[in-house]
Amino acid sequence: MRHFSYSRPETFENASHIPDHARYLAGGTNLIDLMKSDVERPEHVVDLNALPMSQIEERPAGGLRIGALVTNADTAAHPLVTERYPLLASAILAGASPQIRNRATNGGNLNQRTRCHYFYDPDMACNKRSPGTGCSAKGGRNRIMAILGTSDACIATFPSDMCVALAALNATVNLIGPEGERAVALRDYHRLPEDTPWQDNVLRKGEIVTSIDLPPISFGKNHTYLKVRDRLSFAFAIVSVAVGLQVENNTIRKASIAMGGVGTKPWCVPEAETLLEGKVPSPSLFRDVAECLLQGAVTDRDNAAKLKLAPRVIIRALLQAAAGTPQSQTYKSIS
């Protein structure tokens, strides 16, 4: 790892005055890895761990606020999360390993970078790592790359599981920065690569994620996080689907659905959710929803399989949610 200077501010004001060529550090499970790989080369590291962002608290209007510095493990194990937002707990437990989840934070999960092989290799052209050099993933070994939201400049997949559940839950991201505080819908937080793939999200210089708000919504047992990957554990999604349904008298009143592993950001299509509402669950309805979710998909050399796999995962996830039988993240056989 290259040398850098280090600071540990105790106020948001101090933390938001960030010099050029600096990076914020939270859990470090992604940033330090990238620094070892020479992908990230900060001259200064601002450690956020002394800032007061480690609470999980109930909101006056219902809902929950989860602090940016709460670890993924503590979030997934928190009674208020397991009782009210089991979909979020499930998605967190589907990702990484126990040791990583003990260190990785909620804010860091939002801001993690892609695991594109070419992004990770400083010898390869990559517009996300080195703007203007080109995209080696296009036409390269790209079976893990995205099929939705891609551009000529970048086809890197956004790797988070947690954010897929947060998108399905319509969470809000709270930020603080030199110009004050603002809130951004999770679904709008990550950017499409377009022609500026180095900007993963809407964060401005000196802005910090302070917390994530979960709205007061309950899907009861009608939810699931279904993740398909190359090995059963400790692997990124090839395709994943988060679903939450509000079902009354066998009719879907409200539906939330988001996809991971296939998009350059957590993938949501509001029209697909509308398609479900007011309908009786059925395989043919779910096939229509899958088609709607995957509209505009573009495959490249090696990743066409995702377009065959994705509808099956979407339909299976919707069946699980409709039946009230969420996928276990310990017992991995898919029912």
Binding site: M1, R2, H3, F4, S5, Y6, S7, R8, P9, N14, H17, L25, G28, T29, I32, D33, M35, K36, S37, V45, V46, D47, N49, A73, A96, S97, P98, Q99, I100, N102, R103, L232, S233, F234, Q329, T330, Y331, K332
Partner: protein, 168 residues
Amino acid sequence: MTDLSVASPCRLKINGKSHTADLPPCVTLLDLLRERLDLTGTKKGCDHGQCGACTVLVNGKRVKSCLILAVSIPDAEITTIEGLGSDGHLHPMQQAFIDRDAFQCGYCTPGQIMSAVALLEEGHVRTREEIREFMSGNLCRCGAYNGIIDAIEQVVSQQLQNRAGEAA
């Protein structure tokens, strides 16, 4: 802001003993343990958070020491494999790894044992599938996984017997 670029004071309690060192911020907890404190029981495998060989406990939680800057955990309490047993007395998990032939080359073993000790505290040990899932952050390229799960199950059943004995 304090600029700590040259060498930052780092205070840690490791296996019950206080340590103070001046460190460049880029030194990981793993490199501090191995290269500066001669605690070489903790192993460097991939150095990228994937293999689990560097697993230690920080404030009682299992983490990958290769992905933590030593200066970023002031006053933390660290437990390494050297801190588990005492002279002449192995920790029950260490003994179980011997009893159950839970290693071949032994390189991943300190990380496996530290992870398994934390797993017992977490309580995800109800079935073999659950143990397997919650040990997925520790790779063993010799493939001693069945022995590792046997060893963990041995300690779980010892604990249950001890508790039953206390209750009786």
